[in-house]
Amino acid sequence: MSSRLVNSNELINKVREFPTLPTIYSSLMDLMQNPRTTSIELAHLLTQDQASSAKLLKIANSAIYGLQGRINTVSQAILYIGFDEVKNIVTALTIIKLFNTVHSRNEINPVDLWKHSIGVGIITRQIGKSSGVRNLENYFLSGILHDLGKLVFLKMIPTEYSQVMEYSINNKVTIREAETKLLGITHTVIGEMLTEKWRLPNSIKNAIRYHTTGMIDNTFDHLVGTVHIANIVANMYGMGYSWENIVPEPNVEIWDKLNLPDKYFTNNYKYITMEFDESLSLLLNLRQ
């Protein structure tokens, strides 16, 4: 008799029926795909949702982009931080809002997971910058979305997912190992499926799918490797709570590839934690 708590095929079907992203996102994607789109047209679309555009401006002015106080309009945000990064902020806000109705279950609290994810986003971007990546597009968003599959589980099967967490604590295994044992499918696979449904970029899809191993089928990918390390750092720094009670072991090969300077964490932990504190209120307080 199978010891699985759910039928993984049924879970996969439920993901297929998951809501699509709101219209503003698809309109945004359509505009972005048109090479003739101007920043004025894009700004016009974004300002139709005043709450989102206000939030976009606050984030664009935060320490994350180092342009504090200089951006007063959505058009300026597009000019200074770029089309893609503006799209990424809107995507992050849209997805956080979409999961706003997911409720806590015992010790599993979605707000704690978002806090962890924001920490991973900040560290991913910071490591990317420090290791000389010129195009940091998708670094922040990949970190923020890396555990998307866990939220899907909490939304779809809260009781069973509580048991997964209990199993991981009692047996001192990672959440992913507990998911494999009890559900037959992991949050990384579920997250990947959702990114396909939502047509998010491949780089983000890969970061979600492979962040626990840090490699794509034994091949190094800078963004995936960085999210892998950032996930562990955020866990060790106590940024939020990823529902993971042990610190996963870093893939040692990734350190060599990232080639971070000596005493990297000693010299950056303060900046990282400060940026984290600032970003939490900006991204999580959706009523502002």
């Binding site: 320490a63 982009y65 180092g66 342009l67 504090q68 106080g69 910058k129 000389g132 010129r134 001192k172 750092v233 060790m236 720094y237 106590g238 009670n245 042990i246 610190v247 072991e249 870093p250 040692v252 350190w255 971070l260 000596d262 005493k263 990297y264 964490f265 000693t266 010299n267 950056n268 932990y269 303060k270 900046y271 934690t273 400060m274």
Partner: protein
């Protein structure tokens, strides 16, 4: 040695241990530049919040008691099922202990 400080704590004569970069990784101020009032003012207009400066003091500018550091180390090690294998992992663990210790004072 180097030390991270807040811009508001920067004073004339301090020497940068790391460059100040803009968002495009272009160097605004190089390693070894000595700060004067004019440069500190410019850093303020660039909204730089933290600087890495050369210092004889510890990398960690808060002094924690050995007891607090030991508690934090123990809390972390209970969650870790692996041992550090290289310098960067030692550095990561050390910084995580200090992040945790900082929370004792908040």
């Amino acid at each position: 040695m180097r030390k991270m400080i807040k811009l508001e704590d920067a004073v004339e004569g301090m020497v940068l241990a790391e460059p100040i970069l803009n968002n495009f990784n272009q160097t605004l101020l190089a390693v070894g530049v000595t700060l004067d009032l004019e440069k500190i003012k410019i850093l303020r207009t660039w909204n730089i919040k933290l600087l890495s400066i050369k210092s004889e003091d510890s990398d960690y500018d808060l002094e924690f008691s050995p007891e607090i550091l030991a508690i934090c180390q123990n809390m972390l090690e209970r969650r870790m099922l692996w041992n550090p294998r290289n310098e960067i992992e030692f550095d990561l663990i050390q910084s995580a202990i200090y992040v945790s210790a900082t929370e004792f004072y908040e």
